[in-house]
Symmetry: C2
Subunit: 628 residues, 2 copies
């Protein structure tokens, strides 16, 4: 049975009816009693009332003497009242008020005269007394239901004589990974194996929502096994997530398992990614069929399961920050779906947010690591033009976004190393770097999407780097060029150079397969220059159209044996233990928006870039020269 979507339901409608069905089935928070000392961060299941008053006794609020105020009545500056030993008792701050006293006179106002004291002011009853219940009174409500217990609230409860508290019991959510190709995390998967990391991602998400994940062993695509795994999980947990294999081409028994154990309310929601989601339940237990691609899974959890977990945990989990951002580029979207697109978000010179959509591949989990937010594109919307304003739900604290240094452009691991050193020096440092090639850097700086761009652009006529491009694309100035490093580019080939490639011209030989970089990449421009220099054309390179976005991904293709050669930097070849035929030394520099140049974040980046620590790291990586 292939995926069959019974429905293509609108997301908002589906979630609302799902919640309604679950609630009418009895979905509600469960309760447990815990000691107050262990209740930090938990959610109250009921209102909490104080059992005793705090303070529970009248106490002196000053160092001084305690007495009955009435014995001081009549005292004035000219006619003091004399008290004998038996009419007062010395007290320190915090001491309980002695029997038959109702006021404290501060030590500073007490004039000693032998064993007696003289008072020049009458006391008012209950002056300088910290009265019973100043903090909280028995019977007062300390916290209402469904309230997060802060550290201060722990203190208030203990002060009020509350030693145990009814809190919402964390719901246990079973996670069933399924699929014939799925294998547990490992370092040497066989071709065709799919590493099962979704359950770990889902577990992390569930924990952050206050639920307890329980991951079941991987179940193969065998109908009976999936159904019995589902039966077990539904019996043992408060809710169940069944995660389909990543492959939409595989048999999928998720829906069958849900409908065998309980009921399917929807199968197929009009969202992208996440369409194959199954919204089901057994009694009051939610059962969600989660698509196999990690990004789809995260979106389905976020959009559909989060409101369910809110009910089970009593927590407000929808306090995300949504900002308005201007789109950095055109973005198309299918009319049939509400689409959720991961995006980078940065601030431009004028303090406006700029959102740059990331790789939309549902399998690319790293895009979620890099993403600052999610752009929500409504159904019936074809997408947006560059410059359009969109809503972005932030995935990071807004303060971090506001404080981010954005670097866009050519890829070099050097940038990651600088980011690492910046973080070690200052945990506040936030740098966002995207690999869009050298020409991408120029465009991003022009559009105000980034403060810095990384470029290595060869001028075919002069053989120089970068300067002529800046002159061409920024005729009116407005940018600065900061020299970065010199690095050696070359042809990466398999260890031992089995195809005996000695020069770029050798690449046109029969049986050599090439792997290229994307359009706009400095290394792609270098490739085109080398073609011209050698009197070759793109059709002379088998695989010219095969595009990769980074040096390491080119190296990875060669290491895997699916390509024989590709251009890249020495450090990438070294990482993959490839042979390397040097071609040229190039200048990898940083283009900086002039208005951002004096920005502290930019200056810190540059200072680390030129630091001894980075020089040492570059030495270890190999293939770099610095300018000093």
């Amino acid at each position: 049975m292939k995926y069959e979507y019974l429905t293509n339901e609108d997301l908002a409608v589906a979630v609302e009816s799902y919640i309604a069905v679950l609630k009418s089935g009895g979905l509600a928070p469960k309760t447990e009693t815990v000691p107050v000392a262990e209740a930090a961060g938990r959610i109250t299941a009921h209102a909490v009332y104080a059992h005793i008053c705090a303070p529970h006794y009248n106490a002196s609020a000053m160092d001084g003497i305690a007495l009955m105020a009435s014995v001081t009545f009549g005292a004035t500056e000219t006619t003091p009242v004399r008290l004998t030993e038996d009419q007062f008792i010395q007290v320190d701050t915090g001491d309980p008020m002695p029997e038959i006293t109702d006021a404290v006179v501060m030590i500073e106002d007490v004039i000693r005269d032998g064993d007696d004291v003289l008072l020049y002011t009458a006391a008012v009853p209950w002056q300088h007394v910290r009265q019973i219940g100043e903090d909280v009174c028995a019977g007062d409500m300390i916290l209402p239901s469904y309230t997060e217990i802060t550290p201060a609230a722990l203190g208030a409860m203990l002060a009020g004589g509350v030693l145990e508290v009814d809190v919402v019991k964390a719901p246990v959510v079973g996670i069933i990974p399924t699929g014939d190709e799925i294998v547990p995390p490992c370092t040497d998967p066989a071709p065709g194996d799919i590493i099962e990391f979704n359950s770990t991602i889902f577990s992390g998400i569930l924990q952050s929502w206050g639920a307890v994940p329980r991951v079941y062993p991987i179940v193969k695509d065998i109908k009976e096994d999936i159904i019995s795994a589902m039966e077990k999980a539904v019996a043992e947990c408060d809710a169940v997530l069944i995660n389909a294999g990543s492959s939409a081409g595989r048999d999928d028994y998720s829906s069958l398992a849900v409908s065998t154990v309980g009921r399917v309310l929807y199968h197929g929601i009009a969202i992208k990614p996440g369409k194959p989601a199954i919204l089901g339940y057994a009694d009051a237990k939610p059962i969600l069929g989660v698509p196999g691609y990690p990004v789809s899974g995260i979106i389905v959890l976020d959009q559909i399961f989060r409101p369910v977990v809110e009910i089970m945990t009593g927590r407000n989990l929808h306090r995300q920050t949504v900002i308005k951002a201007s789109l950095g580029r055109v973005m198309l979207s299918p009319l049939k779906y509400r689409e959720f697109v991961r995006a980078r978000v940065g601030l431009d010179e004028n303090g406006n947010y700029i959102a740059t959509p990331l790789n939309r591949g549902a399998g690319v989990v790293t895009s979620f690591v890099k993403a600052d937010g999610i752009i929500d594109i409504p159904q019936d919307c074809e997408g947006y033009e560059a410059g359009d304003t969109v809503d972005v739900t932030l995935l990071r604290p807004k303060a971090d976004i506001d404080n981010t240094l954005t670097i866009i452009g050519s890829h070099d691991p050097l940038i990651d190393e600088v980011i690492d050193v910046l973080k070690i020096e200052n945990i506040d440092s936030v740098v966002s770097s995207s690999h869009v090639g050298s020409m991408g850097a120029i465009m991003a700086i022009k559009r105000g999407e980034a403060q810095m761009g990384a470029i290595h652009l060869l001028d075919e006529e002069t053989g120089g780097y970068n300067d002529s491009y800046i002159a061409k694309y920024f005729p009116n100035g407005g940018v600065k060029l900061e020299k970065g490093v010199k690095r050696v580019q070359g042809i990466m080939v398999a260890k031992g150079n089995p195809k005996n490639i000695r020069s770029f011209a050798d690449l046109k030989k029969e049986g050599i397969s090439y792997v290229n970089r994307q359009k706009g990449a400095g290394t792609r421009i270098l490739c085109d220059f080398l073609l011209k220099q050698n009197g070759m054309s793109p059709s002379d390179l088998y695989g010219y159209e095969r595009e990769e976005f980074t040096h390491t991904s080119v190296a990875a293709q060669i290491a895997s044996g699916t390509a024989d050669a590709g251009l890249g930097i020495y450090s990438a070849a070294k990482t993959y233990d490839l042979d390397f035929i040097p071609v040229c030394n190039e200048e990898y520099d940083f283009l900086i928006d002039e208005k951002a140049f004096s920005d502290e974040k930019v200056q810190k980046f540059l200072s680390v870039l030129h630091s001894d620590e980075i020089k040492e790291r570059l030495k270890r990586m190999g293939g770099y020269e610095t300018w000093d």
Copy 2:
């Protein structure tokens, strides 16, 4: 030895030098290795690099046939290429690309002709192939140092073959509670006992910062015991907090213990509360002397210890939201100190934040439960006028503040019950209620500090409630009055009425001690009316000046035997098992800013106020009548 403050150091200077001394002593995050599956929310100790590529094999991105693209070259719409069985292999999405294939043709473009297939378009090498490393390449940096590990990052690490990760080890922070009067939390403390809840509050705070608290047994004020407790804690923990007894009048060996085991850098910081703080260390281990009052302790942890924990955990813990707010009333502050004042924060009609300072008592921990934020008043500032703009560091999510219904005014437990029911119906509901008396409600509504005010104001001339006050204070309208409940007010006296009080006039008898409510409270106005009605004057009531802020705190004084009588509502008397002499039925109503009346939050409040659930709760509490 009484407290001796050796210094009165400026906070910022003290923290900066403290951090510098600790760092130069070697304070730095420790590292431990954990399985990736257990690393959610942890902080990376080093940069994390991928070990393998993800995907780790070239896979078909479509259902279709895999082939060498070269065999399709020349195919056009008019001249198809015919492929025989041995030239292609059927693949599903996710299947590894078979040997000697480099492209996939979608099933839709494949025309079957017996065992052969016909293709009408040439394939491009690597089309519809999900290439090795599309997600992450071996050698790529997945996360830099000191970065919080999100759920998606767990997936990225596992995808990249990283099964274990070096994370910052949570620092263990020892907490030593000290003081002769300190007792563990209990429900029946003796007079003079101080319940030790600070260590629970501090533990909660430390946990939220990613540290592990270790609470030691309470140590009495015995020099040798305190020193040896300190030695033990310093040996066993990464940092130590020693918490002095609440009483400033007691012997205090904290400083001596710190200087015996290590060194004291500062003793005495120019902040209020928190002045007695001790900033010390032993080797690279921070030791902080924390004042005994809970509010002082929380402020000292927040202002001084948090930056230390940031270093030990590698976490950015200073991402609080700071807003500008207008002060609701005048607020004085001593010139000598930087003061931190807890405040309620609400939005006025125009969307401006209004901050209302709360009780500044350092012992009042519930003020931290009620507080929305902290007003930071610089040293050398005498305070602020009403209407001045101040910075408020929020203690709650800003979304909650923006969504808060603010009710100010007379106290009745009814309000707490409505808040509880609102929370049960909708966890998003946030209501802030302050007890400032009925006249306080009128002033708050006039100033725009609240949407609703609770009032029960007796018109001495007509005997009616509330209307005449509204006519007087809002001559131009702008408010609505929503009828709340009728409730019985009376004289609360000890169980069995030992002083035989039968009427208000009895309160002037010799030996009767009264406890009053604060100025502006409706019940205070009732008291004054009853005085006049009975031909009495304030001096006829012993304790007229003794002011409490709620019905329950008046009841608490009587229950404790320190007062014989006080005016209050029946439910308070019932809670404290007091006898009750009814005096009158009064109308407890809600004054609502007309502009806020249609607000959904106000309407929800009113609908719960008049709900059956509340009627039932009022019945259980006793002494109420509803209007329908």
